[in-house]
Each structure stands twice: as C-alpha cells, then as structure tokens.
Amino acid sequence: MASASAQAGAAPTGRLWDRFSIRTKRVIWAWTFLALPIVFYAGIRFYPTLQAFWLSLTDWDLLRPANFVGLANYQRMFADPQFWQVFRNTFAYLIIGTPISLVVSFVIAYYLDRVRFLHGFIRALYFLPYLTTAAALAWVWRWFYQPVPIGVINGFLSTFGIPQQPFLRSVDQALPSIMVTSIWAGLGFQIIIFMAGLRAIPSTYYEAARIDGLGEGAILRKITLPLLKPTTVFLVVFSSIGFLRIFDQVYNMTTNDPGGPLGTTKPLVLMIYQTAFSSYQMGYAAAQTVVLFTILLIVSLLQLWVLRNR
C-alpha cells in the first residue's frame, strides 16, 4: 500500500503510461524514435527541395529580396549557348565514361576473380585509388598532363619519339583527359562490386554448364552476363550519376580557368557552382539545379524500369 502510493507519487506519468495497451506503447516508442529524423528530413531535405523549385522562379541574388519572375530563368537558360555547351559536356562525360569504365572494370573483375596467387595484393592495387581524395589526386593527374620537361606522360611519350600532346590545354583533349582521371578514380569500386556480383552466382550453374559441355565463351554469354544483370544495372546507374555530377576533378584540374579551355570541360555542376557562388545569381542557378534533378530522376526511373523487366 505504502509502496504503491510512493510509486504513484514519484512517477505520475507512469500511471498514464501503464494504462496504454502494449500495442499502443510500441506505436508511441516508434514515433519517439522517428521524431528527430522526421524533423531532419522535413527541414534539411524536403523543404530545401521545394525551396529550390521556388527559387528557380525568382531573380534572387542574395542582396535584394527575391521577385517572382515566372519561367524567365528557364527561358534564359535554354537560349544560352553556354548552357547547351555545358549540357553537351556533361553528357560527353556520361556517354563515353560509363561504357569504358564498365567494360574495363568487368574485364578486370572477371579475371581477378579467378586469380589465387597474391589475390588480395592485386585487388588492393586496383582498389587503392578509390580511397584517395579526389581533389588531391586531380592535382597529381594535372601534373602528369603538363608539357615537357614537367609532365610525366609527355616525358614518357618523348622517349618513344611520340610528339608532345597538349592534354589539358587543348579544346579537344582536355575533356577526355579529365575523364581518364575520373574513370581511374572510380574503377576500384566498380571492380569490387562486379566481383561481389560474380561471387553471388551459385557455382552449381557453372558445374551444370560444364557438364553440358559449354565452353568459356558460352558460359560467359549464357550464364555469367545474364545473372550479373542486376549488378550491371546498378553500376550503370551509379556510374552515370557519378559522371552527371562530376565536379571535384574538373574544378581542381582547371583552377586557372574553371571549366576551360573555352568552357570545353565545364560540366553542369561547375556551371551551377559558378552561377550561384561566383556571380550570386541564385535564382538562375536554382533553375540549373532543377535541370540536373530532372536528368538524374530520368536516369533513376530508367533503372527501375529496366529491373522490372527482369
């Protein structure tokens, strides 16, 4: 009796809590766990997304209050030849970079998977670049691409009597040069994922195929590649999104003329960065981010569609 009243006095809320059913208690726990995350996702993800759409319809420039200008930013963007150049550049990174990086990483993963001698060591060689800071290694590559007597690649070429290449100074070679750096940086990740996908294929399939007398090539075409499709689709999308959002390498390899020479290496994200944080045309930059969002959304939806037909 005494202990019961002491308990009630010490924790008056305890009685209310005790009246709830076990089910209700668990629901309350669940919402308690979710309370802070809901505030976070609402305030730091959803509200800013809506705000970006709204800002894209204004002429906000950080100084004066934003005025609604309708679709003026979009009209300006679609009439801007620089935007279309950037658009082409961005897709050049994607359309050339993704297939090359996927084919190279698959070939390496396919053979590396069978290697037993020093397997971990060789895997580490391929994986190391992925762990390095993109901004730091972009400078190493920038140095590689310098003309003689500084640049390593031109120094190497000249020992074989091959003429000097301008690389980052040329309007034709700069984008492929940056792309090589970017492929190099992401290759290790793709190799590891492909190897995980290869391991996940049950060995009974291979044994059955060998019993049926299928050769290496036939096994690759009829068993490995079809069963690897989810992994491949994941990597196509992951790599595409990576190239569509390329920034660190381009920014660091062209600091003297960002996106140059003559804007031939400038991707969409660098244009957004310059419009927003160099010219402070926040409204115009927001419109560019909406375009990026739309492109990425289409790529993600394509992935879902491809995997549905599995």
């Binding site: 668990r26 629901v27 726990w29 669940a30 766990f33 979710l34 809901i38 976070f40 996702y41 730091i44 993800r45 959803f46 509200y47 800013p48 997304t49 970006a52 800002l55 390496i108 053979y111 590396l112 069978r114 290697v115 037993r116 020093l118 060789i122 580490a124 391929y126 994986f127 190391l128 670049p129 762990l131 800071t133 993109a134 901004a135 730091a136 290694l137 400078w139 190493v140 140095w143 390593v152 120094g155 990740f189 590891i192 994922i193 995980a196 996908g197 920034f247 660190d248 920014y251 600091t255 994200v269 960065y273 927003a276 944080f277 926040m282 930059a285 981010t289 990026l292 969002f293 993600s300």
Partner: protein
C-alpha cells in the same frame, strides 16, 4: 579412379599459360593504377631542382618538403577539421540511420510505409539541388563558416537508413520478444539486443560515411570561407592554387591528404572491401 580423372584436367588448367598471361597483365594493370600514387610520393621527396628528373626513385630523397608544408600548422589544422567532422557525422549516421532503419523494420504502425517511402525518395534529390537552399538557411541561422554548417546536411542519410533496415529485417523477432519478456524497454532492446546482431552492416555504414565525409569537397568548399575551417580537400585545393607551379610542394600536400586514408585502408582492408561489397549489393 574416376574422381582422379575428373580432377586432373582441372589441376592442369590452373597452370595453363593463359592463366600466367592473365595474371601478368592484371599485375601490370595494377601497377599502372597506382603509378599516380607512386609518382606523388616520389616527387614529394624531391627538391625543386629534381622535379624535372622523372625517375621514380628520387636521387636524394628528403623529407624537407613535408617539414616545409607542415611547419605553419595549416595542414595539421585541416587534418583535425576533417577528422572531427567525419567522426561526428559518422557517429550521428550510425545512431540515427540504425534507429530509423530498426523502427521501420521491426515496428508495425500506421504511416510506417509512408515514412519509409518519404525517406527513400530523398535518394533522388541531388545534393547540388539542395546547396543553394542550405546556403540560404545557413546564412539566416548563422551557420556559415562553422563546423556545424559543414556537418548538418549529412547527419542522417537515406542510404544508411535503407541499408540498416535491410539488415534489421534479418534479425529474428524471437530475440526481441524474449528481451521484452525480460522487461527491457524498446530503446534498450534496440541498443543492447538488435544492434550487436548487425555489426557487419554498422561497420560498412561507418566506413562509407567516414570516407565520404573525409573526402567531401563540394559543400565544404561552399560553406567555408575562413582558412581555419577548411577541410583537408578544400585546404589542399587552396594550397595548390597558391603554390602555382611548385609541383613538389603540391605533391607533398596531396600526399599528406592521401596518407591517412591509405593507412586506414592498410589496417582495415578486409572490412572495407567487405563493406563495399555489402553496401553495393544491398543498396
């Protein structure tokens, strides 16, 4: 006898010349992959007059560049900034992503599916679209040029939540039910019973979040203006621009920015590779 015959061709196929050629090509490819790293370290040990000597082994290696670059304490400061930010963001992600993933996997309540879809849908929103509103928000709340300003956007991620939810779904309900009978509250059940059962997922999430934040460039570049608050990648970039054509100094800076992640990899190689595989397959 028949098993012998079946094993023999397999054994022979392991030492086929094709295998040796494939191994050699893979090895050479691997060396090419780390050539930029080797040249970076090699040049960081050369003096300004030796930079044009492209031999990989420096004629007179010295740590003078490292002493020069480290002497004013900038790199140490940036290193500590990056470490602090990456650690705090990682702890936050391990805590909240797990808590939300667990709640969505193990509790039945109305709105559960809606919350899950809402969080998952944020995967579709690119960071680049949010930086302008984040910048505006930071300016209004005084978060610009502060540690919190660098950290706040990444404190929880949909990717981590999804990963943890997948793993918590494999935890049998019986264990949680037994703990409930023992009188543990729901928070204690999650923290003491469920969390220890998904440690591989937690380490994968921790490694990913740490590396991602340690090497992050875009948002820290935007939100920081004072040199003391730069992260290592942003600091290195500004340092390299300042050094102009002193490549041995730039390579030293790049090496300093790279060494910590390489050390972490050497120690945790097995966990990192496994973590990447786990996250890649589940995510």
């Amino acid at each position: 006898m028949s098993t012998m015959a079946a094993e023999l061709p397999q054994n022979r196929s392991r030492i086929r010349p094709g295998r040796i050629i494939a191994w050699t090509l893979l090895f050479i490819g691997g060396l090419i992959m780390i050539t930029p790293l080797l040249y970076m370290f090699s040049t960081s040990l050369k003096s300004a007059s030796q930079v044009y000597d492209l031999r990989l082994i420096p004629a007179a290696p010295s740590f003078n560049n490292y002493i020069k670059v480290m002497s004013d304490g900038r790199f140490l400061r940036w290193f500590l900034n990056s470490t602090f930010i990456a650690v705090v963001v990682t702890l936050s992600n391990v805590f909240f992503d797990s808590l939300v993933g667990y709640t969505l996997a193990k509790f039945r309540f109305r709105g559960r599916y809606f919350i899950f879809l809402a969080i998952l849908s944020t995967l579709m929103i690119p960071t680049e679209m949010l930086v302008i509103p984040w910048y505006l928000m930071s300016a209004q709340l005084g978060w610009l040029d502060s540690y919190w300003g660098i950290m706040f956007p990444g404190m929880m991620t949909a990717f981590g939540t999804f990963l943890m939810k997948q793993f918590f779904e494999t935890v049998p309900d019986d264990f949680l039910e037994a703990a409930r009978v023992d009188g543990l509250n729901e928070f204690a059940i999650w923290w003491k019973i469920a969390m220890p059962m998904v440690t591989p997922a937690i380490s994968a999430l921790a490694i990913f979040t740490f590396l991602g934040n340690w090497t992050a460039f875009f948002w820290p570049l935007i939100v920081t203006t004072s040199r003391d608050l730069y992260t290592l990648p942003v600091g290195l970039s500004s340092f390299a621009v300042e050094q102009s054509i002193q490549w041995e100094m730039i390579m030293t800076g790049a090496a300093i920015a790279t060494i910590p992640t390489l050390l972490v990899f050497l120690v945790l190689q097995r966990y990192i590779v496994r973590g990447v595989m786990l996250a890649g397959l589940k995510g």
